[in-house]
């Protein structure tokens, strides 16, 4: 079983209890990027549901098509989602995403990784 993966836009790591996705520097996410990111995550997960820690601190833009895609098509097999953010820019990105999209799983943003992990542990249990 593969435990990690890297593409042009993100690095993926699977640990015992979660999937860790780190977006690469100065990334602008459009629909095409979102589709690749989701495709690779699903390939790596191979049907297993798990909580996801999504490090968006380097993201600089996510357009609406991508947001819509990530929220619906791209939300499968995720039991809970924690964004790791670095205010103010990524704070704003995650707030708008969370407040405008219907969330099918517990979702929250954190600046502190250990708090994010605690949240996922609490909400992402299968």
């Amino acid at each position: 079983m593969r435990r990690s993966h890297e593409n042009k836009y993100a690095i993926y790591l699977i640990t015992e209890e979660l999937m860790h996705i780190i977006y690469k520097k100065d990334l602008s996410i459009d629909l095409k990027v979102a589709q690749v990111v989701v495709r690779d995550r699903m390939k790596l997960q191979n049907g297993r549901e798990m909580p996801v820690l999504c490090d968006i601190r380097s993201v600089r833009k996510v357009n609406k098509q991508a947001r819509d895609y990530l929220a619906l098509e791209g939300s499968q097999w995720i039991t809970a989602l924690a964004f790791l953010i670095d205010p103010p820019v990524t704070d704003v990105i995650s707030s708008i995403y969370v407040s405008t999209q219907a969330q099918s799983m517990p979702t929250q943003s954190f600046t502190d990784k250990s708090e994010a992990l605690a949240f996922l542990k609490q909400h992402g249990q299968l």
């Binding site: 699903m42 103010p88 969330q103």
Partner: protein
């Protein structure tokens, strides 16, 4: 210069002015900084997209159930990419006069990224007599805002023998999701009349309907209760729920449910090893045949064909 706070605030003001006029198709280039102004720019871009989408939806698309294309960007270029003709719409979109555009290289009005895309792709297309493609281009307006759009590019031969020309077109206000490709059903309902059901919705009604919308999205795999039961559950009546939903989202509740189920199943078809039957049932479809048919109607391909 472009990085001073003063300059950045001016851009934000320009953008807000455009929004005030009802123009939601501009964006501001995000910076690589992580400061308050950068966060404001990001927020403005995202809010702009959200309002734009709602506006198309409620203000225009919904009225006749089809998105109307309001403003067209249209240019004719010679084979070197020099502008020969622009429409008035193009000039107002780019906030400049025809003379600012005519005779100029189109790439002068593109972001660096789009310049690269343009030169890379056009070499190939200009080798043929006739060619068509869609390119995602970012054009910079005279005010420094960005118009990011899918542009239809057609290469053709001028009849007067003046050689190869390029037609660049783009329309604003269109929906992201593809139209259904299946034949329209029950389109001709002459005897039934074409009565439009309009309901007056209070702010509370709108919020209730939004709640229904989100509830459907979060429970795509489950069966939806009948409209009557759903209305009862939401503390409203069937009529208001049915026509109010249609008014706000431009589609019926059940059609919306099917459409969203199909979107979700598409990623599973593409990226999972689940059988198509499993995917159909997981997404609330009663039979694989029904799933396959609905999927083809939306995406123009059956699930089997998509999986290949």
């Amino acid at each position: 210069m472009p990085n001073t706070d003063d300059f950045r605030v001016k851009r934000i003001q320009k953008m807000l002015l455009e929004m005030a006029k009802g123009n939601f198709f501009y964006t501001i280039e995000p910076s690589d900084k992580n400061d308050n102004i950068a966060s404001l720019v990001v927020m403005l871009n995202m809010v702009n997209e959200e309002i734009g989408a709602a506006f198309i939806h409620q203000g225009f698309a919904n009225a006749h159930n089809t998105p109307q294309c309001i403003i067209q960007l249209s240019l004719i270029l010679n084979s070197q990419g020099k502008v020969e003709l622009v429409t008035n719409g193009t000039c107002s979109l780019l906030a400049c006069m025809p003379k600012d555009l005519i005779g100029k290289q189109i790439t002068e009005f593109m972001t660096e990224k789009s310049q690269k895309t343009w030169s890379k792709k056009m070499i190939k297309h200009l080798k043929r007599d006739r060619s068509e493609t869609v390119l995602f281009l970012e054009l910079i307006t005279n005010d420094g805002l960005i118009l990011a759009q899918d542009c239809q590019i057609s290469v053709y031969q001028a009849l007067d023998g003046s050689g190869q020309k390029i037609l660049l077109n783009s329309v604003f206000f269109s929906k992201g999701e593809p139209f259904e490709t299946g034949l329209p059903k029950n389109k001709l309902k002459v005897t039934k009349g074409i009565k439009e059901h309009k309901v007056t919705l209070s702010q509370e009604d709108i919020e209730m309907i939004r709640e229904v919308h989100d509830m459907i999205l979060n429970n795509l795999d489950k069966d939806l209760p009948s409209l009557k039961d759903l209305a009862l559950q939401m503390g409203t009546n069937e009529y208001k729920l049915k026509y109010g939903f249609k008014q706000i989202y431009g589609t019926t509740i059940f059609r919306f449910l099917t459409q969203e189920r199909l979107r979700k199943s598409k990623t599973l078809i593409q990226h999972s090893n689940l059988s198509l039957k499993e995917i159909a049932y997981m997404n609330g479809f009663k039979s694989a045949a029904h799933f396959s048919r609905a999927f083809r109607d939306k995406y123009g391909k059956t699930p089997t064909e998509l999986r290949g």
